[in-house]
Symmetry: C2
Amino acid sequence: MPRSPRQRATILEVARHANASKTSVSRYFGGERERLSRELQDRIAEAARRLSYRPNQMARGLKGGRSRLLGMLVADIRNPFSVAVMHGVEQACREHGLSLLVCNTDNDPAQERAHLALLASYRVEGLVINAAGSPDRELQALVDQGTPLVMLDRELGEVEAEVVGLDNARALDLALDHLQARGYGELLYLSEPPELASPRQARLTRFHQGIAARDLVGEVHCRPLGEREALNRAIGDFLARPGTAPRALLCANGNATLAATRALQALGARLGETGLLGIDELDWCALVGPGITTLAQPTEAIGRAAVECLMRRREAGDSTTPARRVQFQASLIPRGSTRR
Amino acid sequence: MPRSPRQRATILEVARHANASKTSVSRYFGGERERLSRELQDRIAEAARRLSYRPNQMARGLKGGRSRLLGMLVADIRNPFSVAVMHGVEQACREHGLSLLVCNTDNDPAQERAHLALLASYRVEGLVINAAGSPDRELQALVDQGTPLVMLDRELGEVEAEVVGLDNARALDLALDHLQARGYGELLYLSEPPELASPRQARLTRFHQGIAARDLVGEVHCRPLGEREALNRAIGDFLARPGTAPRALLCANGNATLAATRALQALGARLGETGLLGIDELDWCALVGPGITTLAQPTEAIGRAAVECLMRRREAGDSTTPARRVQFQASLIPRGSTRR
DNA sequence: CGTCGTGATGGAACCGTTCCCATCCTAGCC
DNA sequence: GGCTAGGATGGGAACGGTTCCATCACGACG
């Protein structure tokens, strides 16, 4: 047994030990085993085992252009929703024999650009993007290079890419219907600034349409969630406003739900009496007070779908297929926070 | 402007356009710019810009053996603690100009082995491991190959690697001191089975030592958290036991805290009256009931430290340095769940 | 019995870099 | 003025694979 190979064995060494050519060894590991005689296969297997040989993916990717790498750009890795989707992406990758190169951008457009360049330089075979900014140039470069792109729940005007995500309009309808059915008449919609992210825009737009269609009274607060006092004030004002209709908060995503819950607790509001409904299901939603009603997204499915799109695209004649859009439905999980 | 380069430009094309040699272009991008005349630099820059050239990392990695890639093996990507550490790792990577190849194993030793092989085949320059099983063979192979290894909070007997993580003994002392100070006399320690993970073992051991030293009464429940009814029964029995001393639950990690909170809620226990203290700080700990007391780990710091170890090791003469161990201190965040 | 198809195997070019070494030029020195 | 040191530049061999194409043996066929 070789105690300290120190240097990884190469295909040539294996070939020598097996008394074969490197072509044959390459075939053996490249999935063309059946082309080799039984005997030769055995010799190669034995030699490779003895030298504990592993093909070098770098070298592999060089010639054929197949890096076996998928890239994923995540806007905020600490957001459980992103992680859940990533988990789906990862599983699908495994099934396709791909590895995942994950880049977290912390919502910083500059980092986003940098990471995109980086992924390009590794010649990733596909890219799943969940990003904040709009690095059109960089993305277009990727597309030109022939890399299939999938946007997670955000669309970017210029670039041709498929979009996978939630059916935001129906999700909002679901939320509004529920709130109305439970008797809430005045709503405050909480979201981070929607300029940068198209799903936020879609949700906000539908909120406006939805309250108009349902004769509800609606108000909107779109500020960075870091501005805690502004949020508290907005919610405080909303709850203190004259009027008799029950009030409810509608949170555009998991972060907003977290911030809203904190704020309500700080203000001493009782959940249920003050309604609360959040988009994105989180571990702890069932545990806080009477439980927080949420709209759950099928995160795993979204992640898997993204990879499927990528693969389909890669196999197909490429750009012939028109950009598609895959929408998933949210499901309502009613809890005490919307029960008066 | 080249509308559809279709094929990424190579160093040779840039060289031709710039009327230079590929060596010079390589130097330009390889950080040896100062060796080139001002004029040549400009020509290369111009050509590269026009062709939107990006060096191919695969080819780069091939020749020099530097993949600029760091690998990270994560046991459970959906665990917020893991993600927080990963965030630290990632930031440190960026500062060192490295990219991160993340592999999630979902606590499955088989996947772990597979991913390890994969990371090896990409010739990662270092490896941060937070794994469940003990794939000694694979790890040893990596080490032989010269890849520096860092274990996150778990040590593996055989393999030579540095260990970065929490000072589990002092963390448990902190927890026990707090519980005792708050008047809890009988404790139930909740953990997933400790066989596989050394920090679980370390914590469990210290728990036993600690209660003995403090004249506390202690009990232990180490079952997979998925077994909900078993957990409920164990907690129910514990609370119903004859005796007058106030009871408290001590949770070995975030998952255990989540499970315990659910169980307590199902049993209708009041937090505080029944004490609850969890290791790992989570988003929602402040929000549940009177708040859950936790022991926060400096996750970012742990992640960064792991990368620092790796880098130090890579620069140093390698294996000459003895395996080190870096321990961080937990900090107590007292909340209502340990106030009677 | 010569020809030919077929399956197993090997030789060698190529993928896009890096890096060692050679070459060229110019200024400085005796 | 010849020689040399040293800086700028380029040529070409790796790096570890993949893949096209040639070769070889062998049985079948006319």
